[in-house]
């Protein structure tokens, strides 16, 4: 019996249990033995249904992957398995074929070995499946019967069912913690393996990045190839410098105009329009940068006499990233400016200051902490951004401040290291996790600091 059929059968049993328990509880009510029974009949139904389904389904969920291993063990110990070729890929192909023959998906195999293995496979499959089905159904029956005997007028079925609902709620909310732990654990674990191959100091402070060398079999230590400083510089150069030079003035001035000058109708239309910039997928920005902006930047660089201008310049990627970041900066600035008390503004205006003087001398300084917090959030967003730099920035790990030259970033390198053909255990792929760890820690710190700053600022005006 396949897992799906078993699943459906268990669900059907649970439904049956639901109906029976409900009928029984209804009979109690009608019989008048419980004028004010604790729980509605349907709760008795749910109680029985849950006892029928939950243990059995948990068993199926555990058994399904487990049984695959059991089947494999059994098949491998069959005499026909002795003739399997040692080469991994062929083996896998043959085993898959044998499985398909055993399940009747295909009539015969391309490899003769798979035909020989098929009977053993079919045997093992049917044995484990029968075993799983029997245990699951036994569990379902036992659970259902146990629950059914407890259905009585004074049994508090609703409380029990609600307790399970609460457990489910708690379970759902722990997934967030599990995810966080999963991220931290996988980054730390893989990074630890990487740092057993490469000196952490070398990684953090080295200036030579050429991970390609390290996969050569004769170069065990990968000495000198994993200095990540050029990557860090490239990331800061694009994300924290060029992008911010675009996004801060444009975002801040947009927010000032929208909050202080624009008529409500203009504001109502322009704000969503700005937010649309944040809704455009990053891959579209990346394509835009590579297709349109990068050649224009290169031509401009050439025109002003910079011979080294390339079409994978830091400037092109940074410009486009800056455009993407504008709405983040402007909406944070918008919030901070709105939080400045009206009284401050009135005080300045009443002294005869013009609106722009009030904005520059009073509002912006007062809103500054909020704006700074917003900028930090925007930086954190920019340095974690991947697609724009993958598509528009280069791969060359240059340590240069020339915006027309090519630099590479942490995220670009992560993508570069983990795509294409690689073995998972090489220093090259592990380096991606070390870079990921650095990125995670830095963005986390930026966020924490930014939220602190913003929160302190809010409290100051409340």
């Amino acid at each position: 019996m396949s897992s799906l059929a078993l699943f459906l059968l268990v669900v059907a049993l649970a439904a049956l249990g639901w109906l029976m328990a409900r009928a029984r509880a209804t009979a109690f009510r009608r019989g008048g033995s419980a004028p004010r029974a604790h729980s509605l009949p349907s709760y008795h139904g749910w109680y029985v249904a849950l006892w029928t389904a939950v243990p059995a389904l948990i068993f199926i969920a555990v058994w399904t992957p487990l049984s695959a291993n059991l089947v494999m063990d059994e098949v491998m110990s069959a005499p026909a398995a002795a003739s399997l070729p040692p080469f991994e890929m062929q083996r896998v192909a043959i085993l898959r074929e044998a499985r398909e023959i055993a399940e009747g998906i295909r009539p015969g195999g391309f490899h003769p070995e798979s035909n020989a293995l098929a009977p053993a496979y079919a045997d093992a499959l049917s044995r484990t499946r029968t075993m799983g089905a029997v245990v699951a159904l036994l569990l379902a029956f036992a659970g259902g019967a146990f629950a059914f005997t407890r259905v009585s007028p004074h049994f508090r079925a609703r409380t029990r069912v609600e307790r399970l609902v609460m457990a489910a709620l708690l379970g759902a909310s722990t997934i967030a913690i599990l995810t966080t732990l999963g991220i931290i654990a996988s980054l730390l674990f893989e990074s630890a393996r990487f740092f057993s191959l490469v000196d952490p100091l070398e990684f953090l402070f080295g200036t030579h990045w050429s991970p390609q060398i390290a996969i050569r079999a004769d170069q065990a230590g990968a000495s000198g190839g994993f200095g990540a400083i050029p990557l860090f510089w490239g990331t800061i150069f694009i994300g924290a410098i060029i992008a911010m030079l675009v996004a801060i003035p444009l975002g801040l001035m947009s927010a000032i105009y929208l909050t202080q000058y624009a008529r409500p109708a203009v504001r109502r239309w322009m704000k969503p329009l700005l937010e649309m910039l944040a809704g455009v997928p990053t891959v579209v920005y990346g394509y835009f940068a590579a297709l349109t902006v990068a050649p224009a930047v290169r031509d401009f660089g050439k025109a002003i006499g910079i011979a080294s201008a390339t079409s994978e310049s830091a400037l092109a990627a940074g410009l486009v990233m800056g455009i993407m970041i504008i709405p983040f900066v402007s909406s944070m600035a918008d919030d901070s400016i709105n939080a400045v008390p009206q009284a401050m503004r009135d005080g300045s205006l009443a002294m005869g200051a013009t609106t722009s003087e009030t904005i520059r001398r009073v509002i912006v300084p007062a809103a500054l902490p909020g704006v700074v917090g917003g900028v930090l959030l925007a930086v954190s967003r920019a340095i974690g951004e991947t697609m724009i730099v993958v598509m528009a920035a280069g791969l060359a790990a240059n340590l240069t401040a020339n915006p027309f030259a090519s630099v590479t970033t942490v995220t670009t390198q992560i993508v570069q290291l983990l795509t294409g053909d690689q073995e998972f255990d090489s220093a090259k792929t592990l380096a991606a996790f070390a870079l990921g760890l650095v990125l995670f820690v830095v963005t986390l710190l930026l966020n924490i600091v930014a939220l602190r700053v913003v929160k302190k600022y809010r409290e100051a005006y409340e």
Binding site: I183, S186, Q260, V280, G286, V415
Partner: protein
């Protein structure tokens, strides 16, 4: 004094114009981006076809003929009709259409029949005004014969990835996106809503709850590529789930989307006034009944709006999917959540990397499809918000 005031007013005007300029510049960037994509991409929805007269009777084709035979017959017919190089004017997959024509109507095997077949990428480009001299010359010749036409590109909307830009389609990636989003929704929505309910309605103030809250707020700010690393390390290398499948992509994106739904859900639940809870409790509803009968239905529009926005973000996400191997060349639409698939943004990324000129318009066309999809989702979210938003 007066001069000073005049100067101050001038500064005021300049400042104001500066602000307006910033907004208009931002809007202009958006407009420029959209116009670039649309003007590049519209051509992708049109397809150039060439008429080829195939004398089926003269060939030894039958209904059971293998693809290779048909291909050869088509090539021969094209060469015969348009001279040497005629076969290269047709797309690599032109013979597929011939095969379909035979399937539809086997009687043509006994006749001579003129079929419209998709042109090769170079010809397609030339017909749309962007080709080299040789291709343009051929197009001019074909135009004189009335043997070339440009029509709506149904192949693009129904096909999958291919090596020939004239033959690529978006349906494979679109379907992959749909399946991936389905997995994401199936996981992130219930988990997100239940977490939001727990945190907002039941969670006791203690260290564990604080940890959950901190986790969720941090997850919302973690760069998406980190989720890709998580997916790679956990789903692929630990649980050995299939590479580049919608299942793994959906799981990864679900972890990313869940915090968005939790945060939106909590705000929506918070906005349901406490008097409703009191009312239900006061007539003897249990806490679970209060939430599931009253609070959740009232919070649902807000939760759905947040969910759609989170899903829209997941739909446009590329980097985490590259990490879990979703960058393979997949020439057939996926038929389940465990078969290899591509998704729209990854398809865009892959095509953008192609050197062949024909891919430029296809990439942009795919971007148009993606943006249209996103626009529809956001429109739905705005509609929901306006229709069901309740002021208490």
């Amino acid at each position: 004094m007066r001069r000073r005031i005049r100067r101050r007013y001038a500064a005021e005007r300049r400042f104001r114009l500066l602000g307006l300029g910033a907004i208009l510049l931002s809007a202009a960037f958006l407009a420029f981006l959209l116009v670039t994509m649309v003007s590049n991409g519209l051509g992708g929805f049109r397809q150039t076809e060439i008429r080829v007269d195939i004398d089926f009777a003269a060939n030894t084709l039958s209904a059971a003929s293998a693809g290779g035979e048909i291909e050869a017959a088509v090539a021969a017919a094209a060469e015969a009709q348009y001279g040497p190089g005629g076969a290269r004017a047709l797309s690599d997959t032109a013979w597929l259409r011939v095969e379909r024509a035979i399937e539809d109507d086997p009687s043509i095997l006994a006749r001579k029949k003129a079929l419209w077949l998709p042109a090769a990428s170079a010809i397609d480009g030339a017909a749309k005004g962007d080709g080299d001299g040789e291709a343009e010359a051929l197009v001019t010749r074909l135009e004189q014969d009335d043997a070339i036409r440009t029509g709506f590109n149904t192949d693009f909307l129904t096909g999958a990835d291919a090596t020939d830009p004239a033959a690529v389609g978006i349906w494979g990636a679109f379907k992959g996106s749909l399946l991936t989003m389905l997995v994401t929704l199936a996981i992130a929505f219930p988990v997100g809503v239940l977490s939001a309910v727990y945190l907002e309605e039941y969670a006791p103030r203690n260290r564990w709850t604080d940890m959950i809250e901190v986790s969720i707020n941090n997850l919302a700010a973690v760069p998406s590529i980190i989720f890709g690393l998580l997916g790679l390390a956990v789903f692929l290398n630990t649980f050995h789930l299939p590479r580049s499948a919608p299942l793994v992509g959906g799981l990864t994106l679900a972890l990313m989307t869940m915090p968005v739904i939790v945060i939106a859900g909590r705000n929506a639940i918070k906005s349901v006034p406490p008097s409703i809870r009191d009312a239900a409790l006061g007539i003897g509803a249990s806490k679970v009944q209060v939430v599931f009968h009253h609070v959740l239905p009232l919070a649902l529009p807000g939760i759905l709006t947040g969910t759609i926005i989170g899903m829209a973000r997941a739909l446009g996400e590329t980097a985490p999917l590259l990490m879990i191997g979703m960058r393979a060349f997949i020439a057939t639409p996926p038929d389940g959540i465990t078969s290899p698939a591509s998704v729209l943004p990854v398809q865009i990324f892959l095509w953008s990397d192609e050197v062949s000129r024909g891919f430029v318009e296809k990439t942009s066309a795919a971007i148009i499809v993606l943006l249209a999809f996103l626009l529809a989702m956001n429109g739905l979210a705005i509609f929901l918000r306006n229709k069901f938003e309740r002021r208490w």
